[in-house]
Symmetry: C2
Subunit: 387 residues, 2 copies
């Protein structure tokens, strides 16, 4: 009999999300916006074993709508493994027989870490818009507390794609002594105005939904339509013109000729509707607002370099790997090159790979073979240097 997915030799198997709570009042955490928050619970998962010297830990960052469940299965009946399962496991680039892998949900998220849908201990109601605005800096502050709690002084590596790369960039500039190496995949040191524009329209769709009710919708009808529209916009930006041609073309759903009505006639329409509807089942609209704002705010040159990205990277000690994808128009290769150039201006140890791909931004999850080879080689060289 064939093995069940979670029993396969390269799967991390059945895993459980863990929780760590800190910043218990009166010891609250001071956020960038000047407000205090606490207690904070962080949801995280780990795969593999931490070495006695605690020197084999790799922190993985998820993307905008991801979570701590990066690999393995939560139950034997789980249909899908964690979001980066093809990269994490025995014999995979993030090799769990060698490394101790950690992934944590972000502050203001909705996947177990404290966020707007969490109960505000002051009111015993969900925070809603009472949740303070959070930055990528704050998210990293919370992660550092988790890493300290796990007894890790220095991370062997950190790695993230898309928004995850922003957290990686924040880590290497904020805690240079605590990071040995970093993989920044399909990411940027700041969003383009076009990417901010897409975020803004998505937020506007949520805020315009009457059910959003100024963020106070928990236990009431959800702002489903608004959140679905935000997600549909997102999905267009994750694909490329080329990949949409390949995936959908102008094909119609269910019929050969036009129906001359306002139903979802084209396959691409139907795909977007499906993605939108599915998303509202698993994600909190307020978290979407807060996280996109955090992404919009992120600007490493402005926050750490007085306007200069080169200056922002002055203190970096980590060995850096930067990866971009040719057809990614949301986090385009020129943004990765800006990072590489600024690191090189500081004579930092940086490698850059631009992978040819037609998948658009989604390539960071889909170009598994390319990415596996590159990360494998990056981490192996690192291990050689250290040993």
């Amino acid at each position: 009999m064939p093995e069940k997915p979670y029993e396969q030799h390269d799967s991390v198997g059945l895993v459980k999300t863990q929780y760590y709570t800190f910043a218990e009042p009166p010891e609250e955490l001071l956020l960038t916006c000047g407000k205090l928050i606490g207690p904070i619970t962080v949801a995280y998962e780990t795969y593999g074993k931490l070495s006695p010297a605690a020197d084999n830990a790799i922190l993985i960052f998820h993307a905008l709508t991801g979570d701590a469940h990066a690999a393995g299965y939560h139950s034997p009946n789980d249909k899908n493994p964690g979001w980066w399962d093809n990269m994490i496991g025995q014999g995979k680039p993030f090799n769990t027989s060698r490394y101790f892998i950690i992934c944590a949900n972000y502050l203001c998220g909705c996947k177990g870490t404290t966020g707007p849908s969490s109960i505000n201990p002051r009111t015993n109601q969900p925070y809603g818009l009472g949740f303070p605005m959070v930055t990528i800096t704050d998210m990293v502050t919370v992660q550092k507390q988790l890493i300290d709690h796990l007894g890790i002084k220095k991370l062997l590596a950190i790695a993230g794609g898309s928004m995850g790369g922003m957290l990686a960039l924040e880590w290497v500039t904020r805690y240079p002594e605590s990071v040995r190496s970093a993989c920044i995949i399909a990411s940027t040191s700041r969003l383009s105005p076009q990417a901010i524009a897409f975020d803004a329209v998505g937020r506007n769709a949520i805020i315009s939904d009457p059910n959003w009710n100024n963020g106070d919708y928990y236990g009431k009808p959800l702002p489903r339509h608004g959140l679905a529209i935000a997600r549909m916009i997102g999905h267009i930006t994750y694909l490329s013109d080329e990949s949409m041609h390949a995936k959908f073309g102008r094909r119609l759903q269910f019929r050969d000729t036009y129906g001359y009505d306002f139903s979802s006639e084209f396959e691409v329409e139907s795909y977007l509707h499906y993605q939108g509807d599915r998303f509202v089942e698993r994600f909190d609209a307020n978290s979407y607002l807060y996280i996109t704002k955090a992404m919009d705010y992120f600007d490493l040159a402005a926050s750490k370099g007085n306007g200069s990205l080169t200056k922002a990277f002055e203190n970096v000690l980590a060995k850096m790997l930067v990866v971009s994808f040719t057809s990614d128009w949301l986090f385009p290769p020129y943004q990765s090159k800006e990072i590489v150039k600024a690191l090189m201006n500081n004579d930092k140890d940086v490698s850059y790979v631009e992978i040819f791909s037609t998948y658009g931004h989604d390539a960071f999850l889909l170009e598994v073979e390319h990415l596996s080879n590159i990360i494998n080689s990056f981490l192996s060289n690192l291990a050689l240097e250290i040993s």
Copy 2:
């Protein structure tokens, strides 16, 4: 004293929209979708004088949200002239001392031509969703009736950008004997799945607005939020990454530091909100639904060439000019090249110009100097050939 704008020598001056009504029941117009409609009123404007031989007429096509008012001023107090005023007038490419220029609002529009906001004579109520679905073919059928009514057997030229180019392509293939030349600017023989996707999300935003009320909102609160979101999405696609960097960058509106709230902080956000809000004052949400559907349906190869664009162009007699703009990602240059190639496969007379521009799709309205030179030269050569 300086002249008033409408008194300047190269302005067509004060103009009036005219109306022509036909297809009076029981003589209704049969549409592509199989339904009948009538009566149909067409709103149109003309500039210049029709020659006695009626051989100097140029039909101009507007874009998705444009109208018949292409040049001049409706009143001495008008702040803005018609949408293509910089191209139409004495000494301008569409020279009104030589040519008779016509521009008509499209069937299913909301600018004077019969559309979903018009009164359905059968019910004495606005059509709303009772309006039949309309195709680009139907729009052109209506225009042909107008041209016949004006006593014009053969148009000297037709010209349109964006969606307007689609109507031009329909004209040259449907009525080859009636068109001497055609300018297809920043257009396509069919939308890409990406462009359909943006249209679909825009429509979804309108349809999700509770005020839309299944299209029955006339005299009631309008689906403002939905239509504004559709327009915001549109505006992102009309600009380019480069033009957004130049126009907005990451600059903040009204302040130097982040406000850490959900207001429109970035200039680009504020611009999009402004455009969205302004649009709902002047455009009907149902027309937006119908017109975007007509654009999505348009597929010249499928409708006229059994899947082959080359075959679709077999009967073309018009001298063709195709213009694209390098940074236009909504109607990208490769789509213009497909048109040119298909015309060349048929040994048709076609010129192609790809204009370097950072303005994105909006370039067709902004690159006035480039476009003026090209169209000037195209029309002058034509006049030489004819005379």
